[in-house]
Assembly symmetry: C2
Homo-oligomer: 278 residues x 2
C-alpha cells in the first residue's frame, strides 16, 4: 500500500477523478485541487489556520443579503470577480463590464449613507451596438449606491428612444464603503485595507439580441479611484462629472442647489451563448 | 490610471496588503490570492462557473451537523485535511494521526447502518510516550462509526492501567460511506468517485503533557483500503483484525457469535505549542 503523505496526496486525489463523466468538472476540480494544495504547502498551513479558514467561510455563507452575498463580496475584494469577468470578455468590443456578480451585494449590503436631500445629477446616455447602430427600446436601469430605496432615490429605469438615447435625473452618489461589519470587513481590517469605493453610478442595460451589460461609471478625480476596495475601476469607465451652480438643468428642472451633468456612451455586444451569469 | 485586467489584477490585490499589521495573515492571503487566481486562469473559469462555485460553498455551509461539518467533509474529500495534517506532523515520532479535523463530521453525519446485533470486537491497546515509557491514566475514547449512540454501541471510553494498557469490547465496525446526500456527495457523484470508507475504529487518546492523538485503525484486507473517500488510510494504521469462532473472548465474555480481536500500540508525542486544532 502506498503511503499517503504531504508529497503524494495531490496525485492520489487527482487519480480518483479519472472516471469522471463530466470532462469539464474533472478539469476544473483537478486544477482546483492542485492550486489549493500548492497554497497549503507554500504557507505550511497549520491545522488551527485550516479550522479558522473553514469557520470564516461558514460565517460568510451564513450572513444575510442573499445566499452568496458575502461570499461574492469576498471574491470581489480578493480580485477573483474581476479576473473571471475580464478573461471571459477579453476579446469583446463593447463597454467594459464591472463586477456584474456583485450586483446583489450592493443592493443588499450597501450602507445607507444617504442624506435626505442630495444634489441632483442629470445623466444622458447613448446605447449602441458594437457596429455603431443605435439601440432603441433598450432598458436602462440606473442604480445609485448609497441612496436608499426607502428614500425613493435608489435609481431609475427607462428605455432609450429612437436614437438610442436616454436621460434621467438621479441623485449624485456619495463615496461609499462596502458592507464591512461582517467577516469580510474584519478581513480587510486585518489586512490594513480600506473598505471604500469611489463614487459611481451602476448601469444595467438590456436590449434584445445583445449581451446584458452591467457596469459602473466613475467620477474623474475621485480620491478612491486608485484604491477601490473591490477593484471595479477601469480607465474606460471614468468620466467627467460636471458640477454646475444652481439653475435650470438640461431637462428643464430648476435646481435650487448645485447640480451635476454626466454623459456616457454604452456599447453592447451581440448575444453569445457563453456562460454568462444569469 | 493603470488598467486592471486579468493580467494585472493579481499584483493589484497583493499590493494592497503591504500595510497589513499581521505578517502571517499577509503571507497567507498573498499566497491564497496568487493560487486562487492561477486556478481561475488555468481553467479559464467562466462567470457561470464562478456563480455555481459560490452557490456550492454556500450550500455546504448551510448544511447541518455543526457550523463547518460539510465544509470539513469537502476538505477531507479533496485531500486538503490530510495534507495540512501530514505537513504539520512530519517531523514527529508518534502514531500517525488521521483526519483529526473530521471528527465532528463523522459524529454528526455518519450514516446509521448498524444492525441491532453485531459481532463483538475485543480491543487491547498499549499507550506509551515517544521515549517508550508506558502512559498510565491516559483517556482512550473508541468511536465505532456506523454503530449509533441510540443503540448504546457507539463506542467506549476508559483509562489505561499502570502498564499503559487498556481493553474494551465494542462492535465490529461496518464499512461505511461518508454522508453523501448533500452537496459533497453530489460532487463525488459528478467526479465518478465512491463515497465509501474502509471499516475502521477511531481512537481519541489524551494524556497529561502529551499531544492529543486522533487516529483510525483499519482492517488489513478491507477492499476499500486503497480508495478511502477521505484519504485517511496510512499503512502504519492498518492492523490484523483476527476473527474467531463463537467462544470465550479474552475478557471472559462468552460470545455465541464469531468475534474479533485487535491489538494495537499507540505512541503519543510530548506536548508542543504549535497550532493544533483545539
Amino acid at each position: 500500500m502506498r503511503q499517503i503523505d504531504e508529497d503524494t496526496i495531490t496525485q492520489a486525489v487527482i487519480a480518483r477523478h479519472a472516471a469522471a463523466g463530466d470532462a469539464r468538472l474533472r478539469e476544473v476540480m483537478t486544477s482546483l485541487v492542485q492550486h489549493l494544495h500548492a497554497f497549503a504547502r507554500e504557507v505550511k498551513l497549520t491545522e488551527a489556520e485550516w479550522a479558522a479558514g473553514l469557520d470564516f467561510i461558514a460565517e460568510c455563507a451564513r450572513r444575510g443579503g442573499g445566499p452568496r452575498a458575502e461570499l461574492a463580496l469576498l471574491s470581489d475584494t480578493l480580485g477573483l470577480s474581476t479576473l473571471v469577468q475580464a478573461q471571459q470578455r477579453r476579446a469583446r468590443q463593447g463597454t467594459e463590464h464591472s463586477l456584474a456578480g456583485a450586483v446583489t451585494v450592493e443592493a443588499a449590503n450597501g450602507q445607507d449613507v444617504a442624506p435626505l436631500i442630495g444634489e441632483p445629477c442629470h445623466v444622458r446616455g447613448r446605447v449602441s451596438s458594437a457596429d455603431g447602430r443605435p439601440l432603441p427600446g433598450a432598458e436602462v436601469q440606473i442604480v445609485v449606491p448609497g441612496r436608499s430605496a426607502a428614500h425613493g432615490t435608489s435609481g431609475s429605469t427607462q428605455r432609450t428612444d429612437a436614437e438610442g438615447v436616454f436621460a434621467a435625473r438621479v441623485l449624485v452618489p456619495p463615496q461609499q464603503a462596502i458592507a464591512h461589519d461582517g467577516p469580510v470587513g474584519a478581513l480587510l481590517d486585518g489586512l490594513g485595507r480600506t473598505p471604500w469605493r469611489p463614487a459611481h453610478l451602476q448601469f444595467v442595460i438590456t436590449a434584445p439580441g445583445h449581451e446584458r451589460l452591467v457596469t459602473h461609471v466613475f467620477r474623474q478625480g475621485d480620491r478612491h479611484l486608485e484604491a477601490d476596495a473591490v477593484f471595479g475601476v477601469r480607465p474606460s469607465l471614468v468620466a467627467d462629472w460636471v458640477r454646475h451652480g444652481p439653475g435650470r438643468m438640461p431637462d428643464g428642472h430648476a435646481s435650487a442647489v448645485p447640480f451635476t451633468t454626466l454623459e456616457f456612451s454604452f456599447v453592447l455586444n451581440a448575444n453569445t451563448t457563453t456562460g454568462d451569469t444569469p
